[in-house]
């Protein structure tokens, strides 16, 4: 079997089960909230207008934004809970609306008949109104199911594992098999759950107890099978670890370390590299990949992850909110001190390479425009279009560069980082905000323009340890060999292996590891 396919399949039990647990928990609680709320609201026009309006407003927030917003709302917490809460909110509208519409659609005659023959309010609701509204309510539930299973793929950037991991990681590393894997399984799961609910409805309508039990057993099995892998691997690894503990030196052997990564190739490779070092020291490593840029920092601040790699310039501009860059080594020192004093975060050290933002152009296009440096672009700025990742145009680096070199007339175009390099190669944009360690700069023969005014801040790659992790000396020891060990050449080559040659990040990390050990 193809190595890529084998690796994707190996991830499947974990990601699928996480996806099932997350979406079923959100749906279950969504039903528990919105059906009773719908019943209450159906009898009170004022309440139904208010609740429906609130739910509709929630619905108009794009799924990704809703998920991301939960992180600050929960005080920086990442992982299952913010994702669960956002998906729960997302499931409310269809169920709530259909419960209200279904109940209000019942003929007043029927309701009066129920009252007239001596049913209490509750009996009328349970024996007459809810059964009659059931098809409408179930239709809402099915809509919610499809939405929630789909939106759960967006849980990846807030640190909750889901089938979205396939999609986000695949998109960043141009691993289309991975993207397709995520889409197929998410769609399949949505269809399966949707059909399960449909059959439950049929069973309720036709009072087919056998069918209801069958579907119930299926759903229970699905949940059990989803919950079990966690339990089983946990036990298995505990057994493993006790063996390691017996033999390995004291330190972090047998302990769990959570390694975080943002959502692009270089981060996956470095996370895999740290994972190798930590596992070599006997630790059990959990990965939280595809974190949004600021979510990763929040996560290390709150200790949800123990370690990840960031850049001095990023922390300087977006966390410390310092507008003007300063000299590279001073920035590192000031930033380290600030992180330690403000948050107790330990800057373990610099990996060695710099990955700055740079402005890259096709070499022939640069020649045509006679442009070597950003200075040369000002007079023709209104004719140029620049592509950048979703983050960059909102960052201080871009505004500072734009203002320093008078590039305000340039048109900007946002796209995923994966597509920027091919976009500039294929002349869809004139220049891009490239990462200087990206393997595709060399591969596509792009020219990086000079920054004579030194507006762009230095971006030294640094290892950050959470306050808790900083108290575990074994952890820093295990990662110490990486300090100063990776230069730009090595990083660019590792990135290239993944982005161009279709290697997995783990394979590229192994290659780096071999280079370091030499």
């Amino acid at each position: 079997m193809n190595a890529n396919l084998a690796e994707r399949l190996a991830e499947l039990p974990h990601l699928l089960s996480a996806h099932v647990i997350l979406s079923m928990a959100a749906l279950g609680c969504g039903i528990a909230v919105s059906v009773p709320l719908g019943i209450l609201a159906a009898q009170r026009p004022g309440l139904s207008a208010v609740t429906l309006n609130i739910a509709s407003v929630i619905q108009t927030i794009p799924g990704l934004a809703l998920l991301a917003l939960m992180v600050p709302l929960l005080g920086g917490m990442i992982g299952f809970w913010p994702a669960f809460l956002a998906l729960l909110l997302y499931s409310l509208l269809p169920i709530l609306r259909n419960t209200i519409v279904g109940l209000q659609g019942i003929e007043p005659q029927i309701r009066e008949a129920a009252r007239g023959i001596g049913m209490t309010r509750g009996q009328s609701l349970r024996q007459v109104e809810l059964p009659l509204a059931l098809p409408v309510i179930v239709a809402g539930l099915r809509t919610a199911t499809v939405w929630v299973v789909g939106a759960a793929t967006l849980a990846t950037p807030v640190g909750a594992a889901s089938l979205g991991n396939y999609i986000f990681a695949g998109l960043q590393t141009r691993n289309w098999l991975s993207v397709i894997f995520g889409c197929l399984f998410a769609a399949g799961l949505a269809i399966v759950l949707d059909q399960a609910i449909r059959w439950l409805e049929v069973a309720a309508r036709d009072r087919r107890r056998g069918l209801a039990i069958g579907v119930g057993v299926f759903l229970a099995l699905l949940i059990t099978v989803s919950v079990m892998p966690r339990f089983v691997t946990f036990q298995g690894e505990t057994a493993n670890l006790s063996r390691v503990e017996a033999s390995a030196a004291p330190g972090i052997a047998g302990e769990t370390v959570v390694v975080g990564a943002k959502s692009y190739t270089e981060q996956y490779i470095l996370a895999s590299l740290m994972q190798r070092q930590l596992e070599a020291a006997g630790a059990r490593v959990e990965r939280l990949d595809n974190l949004g840029s600021t979510i990763a920092f929040d996560a290390v601040r709150t200790g949800e992850i123990d370690v990840y790699v960031d850049f001095t310039g990023t922390i300087w501009a977006t966390v410390m909110n310092r507008p003007e860059p300063i000299e590279r080594h001073r920035m590192f020192t000031e930033m380290s001190a600030w992180l330690w004093e403000e948050h107790g975060i330990m800057t373990l050290g610099r990996l060695g390479y710099e990955n700055a933002y740079g402005f890259a152009m096709r070499r022939d296009r640069a020649a045509e425009l006679e442009a070597d440096s950003l200075d040369d672009l000002a007079p023709i700025a209104d004719e140029l279009e620049i592509g950048g990742d979703p983050e960059v145009f909102a960052r201080a680096e871009w505004t500072a560069t734009r203002d320093a070199y008078g590039l305000g007339a340039m048109r900007t175009r946002t796209m995923d980082a994966t597509f920027m390099y091919t976009a500039v190669r294929d002349r869809q944009v004139d220049l891009i905000t490239a990462y200087t360690t990206d393997g595709r700069i060399a591969a596509f023969d792009l020219a990086v323009l000079d920054d004579p005014l030194s507006v762009l801040p230095p971006y030294d790659a640094i290892i950050l340890l959470s306050p808790q992790a900083a108290q575990r000396p074994g952890l820093a020891d295990a990662l110490a060999p990486l300090i100063g060990a990776i230069d730009e050449m090595m990083m660019r080559e590792a990135n290239r292996q993944v982005d161009m040659d279709g290697q997995t990040p783990a394979q590229a990390a192994a290659w780096l590891d071999a280079g370091i050990s030499e």
Binding site: Q109, I110, E112, A113, A114, R115, G116, I117, G118, M119, T120, Q123, Q127, V128, P131, L132
Partner: protein, 259 residues
């Protein structure tokens, strides 16, 4: 405990003003003797349905007193009261998601009868209304004709062995032939089981044929109460004679054809 000679229903100076100020029923006094059928008639909007709802407390009276089997209905729990009084509405008011059997068994179940008693009562009633269980019990209301649905409606109202049943235009949605048959069957059923009934109807001919007592209402008040013969012989006002004129004219027309 119940005095067989006392009226089943004794309504004294009852009034109802809806929130919003409509005075739908004013100073109504009526009595209904055991086993009799009282027809409430009058033009649209005169308060017939409202008066009916006051009896089983689907609406609460604004004033006056209603005694059911000698008890003031205002002092009874409305849910319990409704289970002791049959309720038949226009259309049929059957529950579309329940079978014929389940529709009829609803009140016995609400009354917590044991399953054996419920089963035999339902079977007896379905036989009595001409819908043998074997053929009809498992059908849903959509699988019945209008007349059959109305029969199920009667069976449901009678299932809890009530002393009184209230009917709001029970025959109005049926074609004349079905209506005629059902009217006769209903009277036979009543003679058999001995319950009392209040029936709202628009149709004076129906009232004359079926009722023991007729009460004519106008603007929320009773204009006249009496037997069909009393009404025909001495209508209390021009309004009442006007209402009687329609069936009279039809009768004359038919007799002339026959002659």
């Amino acid at each position: 405990m119940i005095d067989p000679a006392a009226p089943v229903l004794d309504i004294r100076s009852v009034g109802k003003t809806y929130p919003g100020g409509v005075e739908a029923v004013r100073e109504v006094s009526l009595t209904l003797e055991r086993g009799q059928l009282l027809a409430l008639t009058g033009e649209s909007g005169c308060g017939k349905t409202t008066l009916l709802k006051l009896i089983n407390r689907l609406e609460d009276a604004s004033g006056g007193l209603i005694l059911y089997e000698g008890e003031d209905v205002a002092s009874l729990d409305p849910v319990q009261l409704r289970r002791r009084i049959g309720w038949v509405m226009q259309g049929d008011g059957l529950f579309p998601h329940l079978t014929v059997l389940e529709n009829v068994a609803i009140i016995p179940r609400l009354l917590d009868w044991n399953p054996e008693r419920t089963r035999s009562r339902v079977a007896d009633l379905l036989d009595m209304v001409g819908l043998p269980s074997a053929e009809y019990a498992e059908r849903y209301p959509v699988e019945l004709s209008g007349g059959q649905r109305q029969r199920v409606g009667f069976a449901r109202a009678l299932a809890g062995e009530p002393d009184l049943i209230l009917m709001d235009e029970p025959f109005s949605a049926l074609d004349p032939i079905t209506r005629d048959g059902l009217q006769q069957e209903f009277r036979a059923l009543q003679a058999d089981l001995g319950f009392s009934a209040v029936m709202v109807t628009h149709d004076m001919a129906e009232a004359l044929i079926m009722a023991d007592q007729i009460a004519v209402m106008q603007d929320g008040a009773i204009l006249q109460q009496g037997t069909p013969v009393e009404l025909l012989q001495s209508p209390a006002s021009d309004y009442v004679s006007g209402l009687l004129e329609t069936p009279r004219r039809q009768m004359r027309a038919i007799r002339e054809l026959g002659a």
